[in-house]
Symmetry: C2
Subunit: 753 residues, 2 copies
């Protein structure tokens, strides 16, 4: 995988120049494809049953014959020690479903362990064992232990934890391990030795789902929450959603869009949320709500929304009491305030801290939290003013460090703009040691081709989480910051969900992997994205290494392909207005300067790129000193972020020996070539997978290839016109004149909220 910026940050200063070269090496290797042997006819036949993707990675297909028999001997019965509970029932049912599928025989529930039993047991219900007790103590409230052990004189597979939810997580972990393929599956049968605890206590999906079931930036149908039919009619899908999340350890769901409506806090919607909470609760998932700052004012129940007005604070306290009566384990509020037109405390001259703290005090007695988003930016105060949008969140929030209540978490996007295919890490990570921070990733692909482009986001998440902020010296990664490494303020992680009513949940089968990768990294931010891709592919497609490894290879090249054909070399925000589909680098006439692509690329005769060094906005200075120093100089700036931080002449000489213009076109061409290569790669995998999903992926990859060409052609045509330069030697001219690309309109693109 490719995480040059992370490498750079971690290994400063020794390999800075080396990283310019190293950066491309893993991708080049991925490009060297291992040939996929033709499948034996019988195997093709066995896999040919139509699948529609609904099962996600919980398919539990039968293990190969040899493994299946071994597993059967180990899963004769399921025994549960101690009292029953809804969560334990869920664990038992999942084991029965999963082992029944994998072993071809559903284990029967039993009361007493015997040889070949699977035993679910809380720590308190196990016979004394000092070693195990010590291990369990280290696993906390959500961790689990799976081991082969003697219990009451017989050999069993023990799933143990301190809590019921730990037992559910352990059950899923073992089922996952059983499907890892070959030797790993065998080990999981014979000698499972799994022990894990989550690094972060809050692991959430943020649903940008509206109360009318539309989804802002959703590309997989409508919201799975059928608000209209709730609370009376409970779609069984809610349970399957809970299962899938519990299998990853996701333990919270913000049910509604951050661009929230006041009605979500009305009595009917609280009742609807409570009905969902009741379904999700056994799976360890708490519900949270996004709230609109001006709710009491809009409901005509207060006369303003000033956070320092006691009547306003009292209203929120009463509302919190009302919510907790309906949902005793309610998680808390997510707030988008004074951002993109949303109301907020600044409307009353108060700070973000004033606003967050008022809500936090209302929730604190009940154990709830406030997640306050740092995604804020304002229009320039006067025309022509150069206010760098990338710098604004830091400017507004850095000074509030230490001023938030303990139950406030500031939620920060991974990068300083907005979920672009590649951004540098947000400078707030590491810069607020006295505040709990939450990572906000976007799992839905608003800027990466919707559900019609295959882009595995594991490498993007990994790149951000592993980035060393250099806060307080070497070795404080973003993941460490989230976990409270600086001053003990423990935060969390949230992903903007890509889930909808589509049968396969995410619109495209491969987008399931982004949900999966987010969840796995939320549990353990140190996992590698390639290893996660392997897990997912084995469970979702096949543990046959001919399928699994080829799927992983395809996935691991996919995100960089999108970067190359959309926004290479640190370019960003070049997409179409509103819907964010397709290229539109020429747009320069929107209401606010910082909504225009031209604001971001600043291409002109003299060069291209946004100067964020000291000669420009100096946003580079927001990073820790060692990083900031490197970013001031184009030569020590990672090339993949070059034009994010620097405005450079078209003939700037790149380390490759090419000019910047030549390098730019070469990246666009490589992006298209990569999209073509992914298509070819899938053509070789396809005979080995089921025809329905196989065809769907093939159709999407064909469209992705065509749209990669469109991005390349439109951007090259535009930048050529702006630069006045001829195409580099050998470059193919765009298929159409620039005016053609500028004429395209997409009035019914999905994802408008």
């Amino acid at each position: 995988m490719l995480r040059p910026f992370a490498l750079l940050a971690r290994a400063l200063p020794a390999i800075v120049l080396g990283s310019l070269v190293l950066a491309w090496l893993p991708a080049e290797q991925a490009r060297a494809q291992a040939p996929v042997p033709a499948p034996a006819p019988a195997q093709v036949q066995a896999q040919a049953a139509a699948e529609d993707g609904y099962q996600l990675w919980l398919r539990y297909s039968p293990l190969p014959a040899g493994l299946r028999e071994r597993l059967q001997a180990r899963v004769a019965t399921i025994v549960q020690l101690g009292a029953d509970s809804p969560t334990l029932r869920a664990a038992r049912q999942e084991l029965q479903r999963g082992l029944g599928g994998l072993a071809g025989r559903t284990p029967a529930p039993a009361v007493a362990p015997r040889a070949g039993s699977v035993v679910l047991a809380r720590a308190a219900d196990l016979p004394p064992s000092p070693a195990r007790e010590a291990q369990l103590r280290s696993l906390g409230q959500e961790g689990y232990l799976v081991q082969r052990t003697r219990l009451h004189g017989v050999e069993v597979t023990l799933i143990a934890a301190n809590t019921d939810i730990g037992l559910l997580y352990g059950s899923f972990a073992w089922l996952r391990a059983l499907q890892a393929g070959a030797a790993d599956s065998l080990a999981a049968i014979n000698a499972p030795a799994l022990a894990s605890r989550p690094a972060l206590p809050r692991r959430l999906l943020d649903h940008w789902d509206n109360l009318d079931r539309s989804i802002e930036r959703g590309y997989a149908g409508q919201s799975i929450w059928n608000w209209w039919e709730l609370p009376d009619i409970l779609d069984p899908r809610y349970t399957d959603y809970a299962r899938a999340n519990a299998s990853l350890g996701i333990n919270g769901a913000v049910l509604n869009n951050v661009n929230a409506k006041a009605e979500v806090l009305s009595a009917p919607f609280i009742a609807k949320a409570a009905a969902l909470a009741a379904v999700l609760r056994p799976y360890g998932i708490r519900v949270y709500l996004s709230v609109r700052w001006s709710t009491p004012l809009e409901l005509h129940e207060t006369r303003n929304a000033d956070p320092l007005d006691p009547a306003v604070a009292a209203w929120w306290q009463r509302k919190a009491d009302e919510i907790y009566r309906a949902i005793p384990d309610f998680g808390g509020f997510l707030v988008k305030a004074n951002s993109e037109g949303q109301p907020g405390p600044q409307d009353y001259g108060r700070s973000h801290a004033d606003g967050a703290n008022m809500l936090a005090r209302a929730l604190a007695p009940h154990g709830g939290i406030v997640m306050w988003r740092a995604f804020v930016y304002s229009p320039p105060a006067r025309p022509g003013q150069m206010a760098d949008r990338a710098a604004q969140a830091y400017e507004q929030f850095k000074r509030l460090d230490g001023r938030f209540e303990r139950n406030v978490i500031v939620q920060v996007k991974n990068g300083p703009i907005d979920f672009q295919p590649r951004e540098p890490v947000h400078p707030l990570f590491g810069a607020m040691p006295d505040t709990a921070l939450m990572m906000e990733f976007q799992v839905t692909k608003e800027y990466l081709g919707f559900a019609t482009h295959l882009a595995y986001l594991g490498p993007l998440f990994e790149e951000a989480l592993r980035f060393d902020t250099r806060a307080g010296g070497v070795g404080t990664s973003v993941a460490d910051v989230l976990a409270g490494a600086q001053a003990g303020h423990v935060g969390g992680i949230a992903g903007v969900a890509n889930i909808g009513s589509s049968r396969n949940w995410t619109g495209a089968d491969f987008d399931q992997a982004n949900w999966y990768a987010f969840g796995r990294l939320a549990w353990d931010p140190k996992l590698g994205s390639a290893a996660i891709a392997g897990e997912w592919a084995a469970q979702t497609w096949s543990a046959d290494p001919r399928v699994r490894d080829a799927v992983v290879a395809l996935m691991m090249r996919s995100r960089e392909a999108v970067v190359d054909y959309m926004t290479p070399l640190g370019l960003h925000h070049l997409m179409g207005t509103g819907h964010h589909h397709g290229p539109a680098p020429w747009v320069d006439d929107l209401e606010r300067p910082d909504w225009n692509p031209t604001y971001y690329h600043r291409a002109a005769r003299d060069g291209i790129g946004f100067d964020r060094s000291a000669s420009g906005s100096n946003a580079a200075a927001q990073y820790a000193p060692e990083i900031a120093r490197r970013l001031q100089d184009p030569a020590t700036t990672p090339p993949e972020l070059l034009l994010w931080f620097h405005h450079l002449p078209w003939d700037y000489r790149m380390p490759s020996g090419r000019t910047l213009w030549e390098e730019l076109v070469a990246h666009y061409d490589r992006g298209v070539a990569e999209a073509a290569a992914m298509q070819a790669q899938w053509a070789r995998i396809r005979p080995l997978v089921d025809p329905r999903r196989g065809a769907d992926v093939a159709q999407r990859l064909a469209r992705q290839h065509a749209e990669a060409q469109w991005w390349r052609d439109a951007c090259v045509a535009y930048f050529q016109q702006v630069s006045g330069l001829p195409l580099p030697p050998g470059a193919v001219p765009p298929a159409h004149p620039l005016s053609y690309y500028q004429s395209l309109r997409f009035p019914y693109a999905p994802g408008h909220g």
Copy 2:
């Protein structure tokens, strides 16, 4: 079933008074429930597999053991005589799927018939047989014949037709017959003797689906047409949609909303429609498009949209040519013009005929048709004017009879207002002998409780189709009018689809029955709705008579229950504004008088009802003289339509002996009691069906019961206030004061387009 108005019209004048009594008899009988015996445990077990409704009525569950073996002997192989085609492939695949499921053994394809073969053969490919040839000639271009016969010396089951599509329809007909249950199934195995041809050539679903995938008046998720991903990505669901429709004989689909957008005729959307057409074509389904009158103007390609401007006509001709290049069998246009704010020819002082004919001339060279909607109504010309909306379509269209091109069909809603739970038949049926007419039913339940109320619409459709218009004497039913009985102008039938992206297609399992009933009646408008319910229940739930007959009984009472708790005794248009959810008879402040419920019920101290007799709007006079005469007098007006045609004092004496006020409250109470009885009825059926669908239906019926109570309470509270009368003796007071019902708001109700 209940079709008193039809009975009345047919049997005039003898049983007019009798109908007042007879009207309720069948419903009373249905209310006497046959007890359902408790199932044997093994049967429950066998049926307990979870079903999600996706298979619709094409589940092909195994027949009972005795029948299964008999069928196996009859389906050893499938043989197709003559050349292959995509439609024949579809028939073969369906027979393999269906017989494989029913018989438990999939018949193999073979070249030569042998004993036990199923033979698919076009008339031209069969050996000579004068009797069969004569029968086949009588079956037309879409009919089919299924019989047990000797062919080339062996006994086979023959499916024969003049065309490929006839063979597909015959295959589905046989599969349906095999699932009818008990003796009927046995007959279909041993001695099938099916022969049928459709009564109407155009049998269409109208999708009110927008290009952004929202559905106007859709309650089952988003559009199944994924316009964004078309034409590149073809959802396999398109094929399943085609199969379901072909199983009923539906042969056309209007893909987009009658409130159409200009872009649907742009090149990208024509390509998307063409991709769908290619999927639907083998199943005999042609695609049609709704077009916006002002399209060429909005696309800036003409300077106006005047139908008599040669430039406008030439534009439409070029557009038709373009469409037919992409879709050679394109069906034609559906047009909503000068209606509810849509543009139309009247904007240029031209008539509906001018508009329709201009489009018709553009389509005629290609064989396309124009379906021009008669659903038009205008605001009153001056304030306070009493323009009866119910009379306007007749006023505008009657005088245009005979002035339409041959390839124009005027599409008329079943009643003169708008798909109310009960309306009289539209007076245009029978009144335009020199014009082809098309029936427009609404399958989606805009006014009947969305997908959360169970209301089987078969009786509603039947009531309309069987109504004797008395056009040209006794015996010209609406169905006859559609078939061209008056002067040979053959029309068709369209249903506004209730299909969406919901897994079970229609939001609620029982709403599948409305799609089914529409399709079956489109093929044969003389079928009975109870018989259709039986077919559907046997295929969709179980052919076990304990299930099937109880499901039918529940269905057959359901529509009248809705009439009773929403709009009894001919009341109409009492629903909430905009979303059309719930009761709002008090609304009187909308922009147009004829959008207000008070406009329709006219309740006041003096009485209630809309006087459409000679003393009022005299809309009654739009019917054939014999019917009109009866409708002038409350005593000879069918009681279920009393307040549609008459404004009567609250103490008007009803044939029951009750006052009108007492009768009204009694109907509301009966509606609620019926909803409760349906709930109880399902509780007895539920153990016999699969748990997933069983639970979903139970949840919906509980909500329906609660909402029936809400309708009753709100309407009784309101009419009591208006009338100033005390509640009738014994009537339970509404649960809340009127102000409570008036305060309810539903800002996120589904179905806004």
